[in-house]
């Protein structure tokens, strides 16, 4: 009785023998290793490309109520930019036609110039308005279009103001033009159809990265154990004096290493390929990512304690992951959710990590602001890993 009480919960020796065996097996299957390492990167690149398509030469539908020279100058500026293409056939007579064409998906963007555009530009008494209508179905494209349009409008506005500076007293103008600074400027009114709250690729890609790493780490970890159960090798392992903690730690270490490596690689892809720079501290993000990977390992191990086959493990992972995508703040903001969903949201590691990665990458915040999330993520990692080792009984059925 005292014999078992004195036994340590884990030993270096046990971890080492399992770890060595696992490495040997991985080395026997280099394709699997290459697959595990490259899969998250491929997934990130594909989903990133899907939301961030090339914004060039977008066919633009136009309704020009003004029809005078100034309006054509503006449309030429649009047409001459690399973003917009305006052909003769793109002109329609009513703003309704513009809306309809975009709703039907025939055009992604439309320009409506009101009848008083030229007179406002010439008089300089108040800013001349133009309307840009974009299809918001794809948020990042819509955002890109709006950005491009405002760039062009700002340039035209500047050119128009400069020309007024050269000729400060237009012949037919009133005398108080000097007192209205907005004279001759153009203001852009944008209208987004379908999806007024734009979320950009900039906002989405760090989140996608988090989700891919979460899912892949959970899957590969649970596979590592469930495969042994499926093949019956776990049964043979269980009759040896190996400790449960040694078995799990030894088995999971190689996948943890792969997870960390992948995390770094996907961050590099995000920075270099999608040109999303990390405005905050890179090392803090790396540290938080390591903790996040640990929570994923814990979840993967927990899943492996209940599943008899790899198919079951996939089903359970997906079944858990899909709802957590919806309530972790990845798609919908957390604030308006009911309290009982919020409780679940704040017990998910993904929720905290999303706040951390978005904070660091987009807002440039660091540990000073994000320490509560970091601490809670650490607690979750400890709880999940501890629970999985406790749950894993040394019994096969």
């Amino acid at each position: 009785m005292s014999d078992t009480a004195k036994k340590p919960r884990w030993t270096w020796d046990g971890i080492r023998s399992i770890f060595r065996k696992e490495l040997l097996q991985l080395m026997r299957d280099p394709y699997l290793v290459a697959f595990i390492i490259t899969l998250p990167i491929i997934q990130l690149v594909i989903s990133g490309l899907a939301i961030q398509r090339d914004l060039k030469h977008i066919e633009t539908i136009v309704c020009n109520y003004d029809q005078r020279n100034a309006s054509y100058d503006l449309l030429n500026a649009f047409d001459n930019s690399t973003f917009f293409d305006i052909n003769d056939k793109n002109y329609v007579n009513s703003d309704q036609a513009v809306f309809q064409a975009i709703r039907q998906g025939r055009y992604r963007v439309g320009i409506i110039i009101p009848p008083d555009y030229s007179s406002k530009i010439l008089s300089g008494s108040e800013p001349a308005e133009i309307n840009v209508v974009v299809d918001g179905a794809n948020a990042s494209i819509a955002k890109g279009i709006v950005n491009a349009a405002s760039l062009i409008v700002a340039q035209e506005s500047k050119a128009s103001l400069e020309s007024q500076m050269l000729n400060p007293y237009p012949s037919d103008s009133s005398s108080n033009s000097g007192s209205t600074p907005a004279a001759g400027s153009i203001s852009l009114v944008t209208k987004v159809l379908y999806n007024p709250d734009l979320m950009s690729a900039y906002f989405l890609i760090p989140g996608i990265l988090a989700i891919i790493m979460h899912m892949m780490t959970i899957l590969f970890t649970s596979f590592a154990i469930v495969r042994e159960r499926e093949n019956g090798t776990l049964e043979q392992l269980m009759v040896t004096p190996i400790r449960v903690a040694d078995l799990m730690i030894g088995k999971v270490l190689p996948y943890a290493a792969i997870g960390f490596l992948d995390m770094i690689l996907t961050l590099i892809v995000m920075v270099c390929f999608f040109e999303i720079s990390i405005s905050g501290n890179f090392w803090f993000l790396c540290g938080a990512s390591v903790i996040f990977i640990l929570t994923s390992l814990g979840i993967g191990l927990l899943i492996s304690t209940t599943c008899q086959s790899q198919v079951q493990a996939i089903q359970l992972t997906m079944g858990l992951l899909l709802p957590s995508l919806l309530i972790s703040g990845f798609v919908f903001p957390l604030e308006p959710m009911p309290w009982f969903i919020k409780i679940v949201s704040y017990s998910l590691p993904l929720t905290y990590y999303l706040e951390i990665i978005r904070g660091v990458v987009i807002k440039g915040t660091g540990f000073m602001e994000l320490w509560p999330q970091t601490v809670l993520l650490t607690i979750l990692a400890i709880v999940l890993l501890g629970a999985s080792i406790n749950r894993f009984k040394k019994q096969v059925v």
């Binding site: 009785m1 014999d3 078992t4 036994k7 020796d13 046990g14 023998s17 060595r20 065996k21 040997l24 097996q25 026997r28 299957d29 093949n231 019956g232 090798t233 049964e235 043979q236 392992l237 269980m238 009759v239 040896t240 004096p241 190996i242 040394k394 019994q395 096969v396 059925v397």
Partner: protein, 328 residues
């Protein structure tokens, strides 16, 4: 005997899976150094029993003591004392023979110079040295079994559980394995072996027969052939060598005093009712035009014992079921 002298002892061991009972009220006592043969039809609960004794599967109720350790209460404590060779090959197919053996000896703490010597010893013992560099998946069935035996032996266990070790072995390999088991037993190792082969059962020092989750009988093979139900039930058993075999089989079967007849190679084993003389059978066969080459009374085989006991068991169950349906 005191409990220390028993290698394995179970009391009222039960195991249920949902609504199916795989092991019912198992009481076993196996002495140290014995080769215990565990027989029974498919699905009768042999593997389930072994898994419970190895501490892999918790029993629904009852106790099991293996090598002085209560495996129900403390399955961890028995690990280093036992070896287990599962029915299905359960080593790593993508590792070589040597790597599998290294891994398991490391887990059992068989390391260093002594460990190296022990591994060499086991490899010699099982005779697997020429396959050391093979991946386990490239071994044939019989050699896989021998590799599994290596890994179950490497830590010099006191008790080894072998679940159908000879299932995929050729006759020579089977003979070699049994020679190995005998030498282990003579060194004091207790062996718990399941098998479907009667000739293997005859070589065990004691056997148990489990039918439909119940242990029907256990004891030494010779002992079992003397038990009352066997001897008292069918006290006449003849081996009849004759031509033509199949035709005679049908003739013998139709005789009203014959209870059972089976073909054994070139001979028939005939079980007759009490008091039937050898002359009577010979006379009836000659009358039917069969040329009897030889005829002699024989002892029941272990198979006869198991078949008879199973039949008695089925009849008893039917009788009990009928009584119950009548009383309801």
């Amino acid at each position: 005997m005191t409990s220390q002298e028993w290698a394995i002892q179970t009391e009222h061991l039960y195991r249920r899976f949902n609504d199916k009972t795989a092991v019912t009220d198992l009481n076993l006592s196996i002495a140290r150094g014995e080769i215990f043969g565990f027989l029974g039809p498919n699905g009768s609960g042999k593997s389930t029993t072994i898994k419970m004794l190895c501490g892999l599967l918790p029993p629904t109720s009852g106790t099991a003591t293996v090598s002085g350790v209560n495996v129900v209460a403390d399955p961890e404590a028995v690990r280093s004392k036992i070896g287990y060779m599962p029915q299905k090959f359960s080593l790593y197919e993508d590792l070589t023979v040597q790597e599998n053996l290294d891994f398991y000896s490391h887990l059992y703490g068989v390391t260093g110079k002594a460990g190296h010597l022990r591994k060499q010893e086991v490899i010699e013992l099982v005779g697997i040295s020429r396959y050391q560099r093979y991946l386990a998946k490239h071994l044939s069935g019989g050699w896989k079994q021998r590799l599994a035996l290596c890994c179950a032996l490497v830590h010099e266990p006191e008790i080894i559980f072998l679940d159908e070790p000879t299932a995929s072995m050729d006759p020579v390999a089977r003979r070699e394995l049994w020679d190995l088991l005998f030498s282990l037993a003579s060194a004091g190792v207790t062996l718990f072996v399941t098998t479907h082969y009667m000739d293997e059962a005859e070589r065990c020092s004691s056997v148990g027969y489990i039918y439909n989750s119940r242990l029907i009988v256990s004891g030494g093979p010779d002992e079992l052939k003397q038990i009352r139900q066997i001897v008292g039930h069918n006290n006449q058993r003849f081996e009849v060598i004759c031509r033509p075999l199949v035709k005679t089989f049908n003739i013998v079967k139709s005789l009203d005093y014959v209870e059972d007849v089976t073909i054994f190679g070139q001979a028939l084993h005939v079980v007759t009712q009490q008091g039937i003389q050898a002359e009577q059978l010979q006379k009836d066969l000659s009358a039917s035009g069969v040329s009897v080459i030889s005829q002699r009374p024989i002892e029941p085989s272990l198979e006869d014992v198991f078949v008879t006991l199973t039949q008695i068991n089925i009849e008893e169950e039917r009788r009990i079921a009928e009584e119950q349906s009548l009383s309801v």
